[in-house]
Amino acid sequence: MKDSISKPITRVDAPAKISGAAKYIGDIHFENQLFAKTVRSDKPKAKIVSIKTPSLPDGYYIIDKNDIPGINRMRTVVSDHPIFADDEVNYIGQPILLVVGPEREKIYEIVSQIKIEYKDESAVFSIEEAEEKGTVFTEYSYSKGEPEAAFHDAVKIIEDEYHTGLQEHVYLEPQGITGEYKDETMFIYGSMQCPFYVKGAIQDVLGWDSDRIRIIQSITGGAFGGKEEFPSLMACQVAVASLKTKRPVQMIYDRDEDIICSTKRHPSIVHYKAGLGKSNQVIVLNIDIIFDAGAYSELSPVVLQRGMFSATGVYNFPHLSVRGRNFMTNNVPSGAYRGFGAPQTIFGTEMLMHNIAVKLGVDPLKYKINHLIKRGDPTCTGGKIRDEVKLLEIIEKVEKMSGYRRKIERRKKFKGIGVSLFLHGCGFTGKGEATIKGKIILKKNGDTVILKVSSVEMGQGAETCLRKIVAHTLSLPMEKVICETIDTGLIPDSGPTVASRTTMIVGGLLRQASLELKDCWNEANEIEISKTYKHPDFLSWDDDKFVGDAYPTYSWGANVAEVEIDSLTYEINVKKISAVYDVGVPIDEKMLRGQMQGGIVQSIGWATIEVMNSSKGKLAQHNLTDYKIPTSMDVPEIACKFIENPYEFGPFGAKCAGELPSAGAPPAVAAAVSNALGIPIKSIPLTPEYLMEIDKHED
């Protein structure tokens, strides 16, 4: 691996982070800054009758909807979330107004004196209830082949339903934004994934031209999708506050507030009707997906789309019909979360395949292998699998690493092993990349190259990875390739830092620009090359009918989980995860291993101990004492390997990676638990209560 791009290097951002010198938004003090605290709804659905505020001491302000010069809605896919509540609230935690001032204690005192009178209205608290009442935000469907006719031919029909729960991101750094109105310009600083999303949102709320708005990302302490759309809301609020007070306004959430009001992973129910042919093969599948979008739609339509286009997993079902619906409830809005709808539907499909196999008395892995999609096959939306699918190689490797075959034959009660197969569609869904047309600039300045992109470092290693792609291409040392500050005044819009698109799409543009720069390196001291994404001509997508290539290519993986279950308490101990991934070619094998391990542990949390319930719209867990994420004591041994499968259009052959692990571990762990207890698993999180109940029920 000596000269390979995959050979690990030291992360460029790590030294300042280890020493504690790295400044996150809460560590940056602005001269004359004020603090802001949000007053929120404590009603799930109500009309606001009146708001009584105390008389404010000098230097203290209340900021609400009346202070907004532009539009009182946050710009995103569906711009329906009010910046401050109009005259109604639709979830507990919805922002109504800010109290702003110089002393935190005094702000809290003012907040406690604000009295809001509401008139309660009837609310919807669960997806089941929403389905009954028909509070649909979005409904989509697509089909393939002739599902109706195929059900006639089926010799056996199996129906099943799978549930997944809420998940909180728990980025270690809570959300934080500072707004500073200065020199007729609005400056927004903060923890975020998508500076240009924030910029667009500020344009709407202030009604200003874009050249008076600058968004500057601060070092971001984890995000996982939680800092995709949500920071836009906070940014709009502090922008309005700073405009009114003419002083910098900082708003940093504490953990409780962050959990109460920030977006979560969509809870889901996926209903399946499978028709089996003579050889017990699934010949037709009907998939009905419902997501709890919460009180506002926001990003939910595209989350649902990815969920729908990932719902067939790694399989080729000849006949298919898929329906997806997002429901409005009076819960906190659901939003982007690593995997973006796909982990929910892949969980359902993997468990369906597992449970059918067990019911038929055949080995789940063999049963799954009989359905694998291959190169040249149509995708679920009638696109084409163009690139080599190395699933069999992946499976062989993960079997060897885990001893799966040997271990599954010696099944013991309370000890189990399970396997999952999964994929992730690389980059934006459908026309996303073609619409956003990401831009990058590469600038040679003497012996240094400056890289201008809007892809942010948020812990995933983007800065090191992108600089490495350029440095490696130009045979320059890393320190001669630097990133421009993430400041929308200095960088082009390369698109948001989402959808596992940074390495493949933005890195791909940088690779092209570097190759061009290499060719003309000696021609001048200063050279600037800019590149704009061009969607490959061979990809077609009909956004109305959902026909064509939903993704340009796919990354693939297999996980084997080994678990032990306490026979008295039914607590799950995940002992080991063996994981093999095809992400094309790893740009830095070690950083990627870190991404995969982190994704595995985070999604094991979702599948096991991360329980979040909402009762009448109020979250029962709102701090890290109630909402448990995996600690050092909970993590399994993880063996993680990559197989190479270079992608023609990715930089050095790289495809997508960051979200891939989120889909893999939950069904592997659930299959292992199913194996350990000898019962079908249809729901996560796998709490001891749930396992005890179904185990007794089965007995």
């Binding site: 504690g20 809460g26 809570p174 070092i219 812990g459 994704g599």
Partner: protein, 156 residues
């Protein structure tokens, strides 16, 4: 209330409410921003500092308790040779991603290695059980600590 304590090897006298949190004193009064607030209730460990050599959550320590104690934050610790070893080992092992938990984890590592210079994997896991990390899945942090113990033999 007047409180006298040692902060990163310097004697300090402050006038504070004895109930105020050590975390706020360090961040607001001394601008020691390596000490992070991740939860404010002793669950996440992002605010870990050393009090007389032992790792404590500074969000749970009231000012009244630090009288006469020696508090060390990363700003003090990063000048030591032991820090250098931990830094190199964490870099080598890929122990850092978003970095928000990292200063707290370095503090817990120092506290562990002082007590137990050659910890087993189980002992490392136990020592880190009060430090949450959402990015790495911990395994590469364990590797970083093992490497530090090995490279820094004789320093602890």
């Amino acid at each position: 209330m007047k409180i006298e304590f040692i902060l990163n090897d310097k004697k300090r006298v402050i006038q504070v409410d004895p109930a105020s949190r050590l975390l706020d004193i360090l961040r607001d009064d001394f601008e020691l921003t390596s000490v992070k607030e991740g939860c404010g209730e002793g669950e996440c460990g992002a605010c870990v500092v050393l009090m007389d050599g032992k790792a404590v959550n500074s969000c749970l320590i009231p000012a009244g308790l630090i009288e006469g104690r020696h508090i060390v934050t990363m700003e003090g610790f990063r000048k030591t040779e032991r820090y250098k070893v931990i830094e190199e080992s964490f870099l080598k092992a890929g122990s850092v991603q978003c970095g928000f938990c990292t200063p707290g984890i370095v503090m817990s590592t120092e506290s562990l290695l002082r007590e137990n210079p050659l910890p087993s994997e189980e002992e490392i896991k136990e020592a880190l059980s009060g430090n949450l990390c959402r990015c790495t899945g911990y395994n590469m942090i364990f590797e970083g600590i093992k490497l530090a113990a090995e490279r820094g033999k004789g320093l602890w």
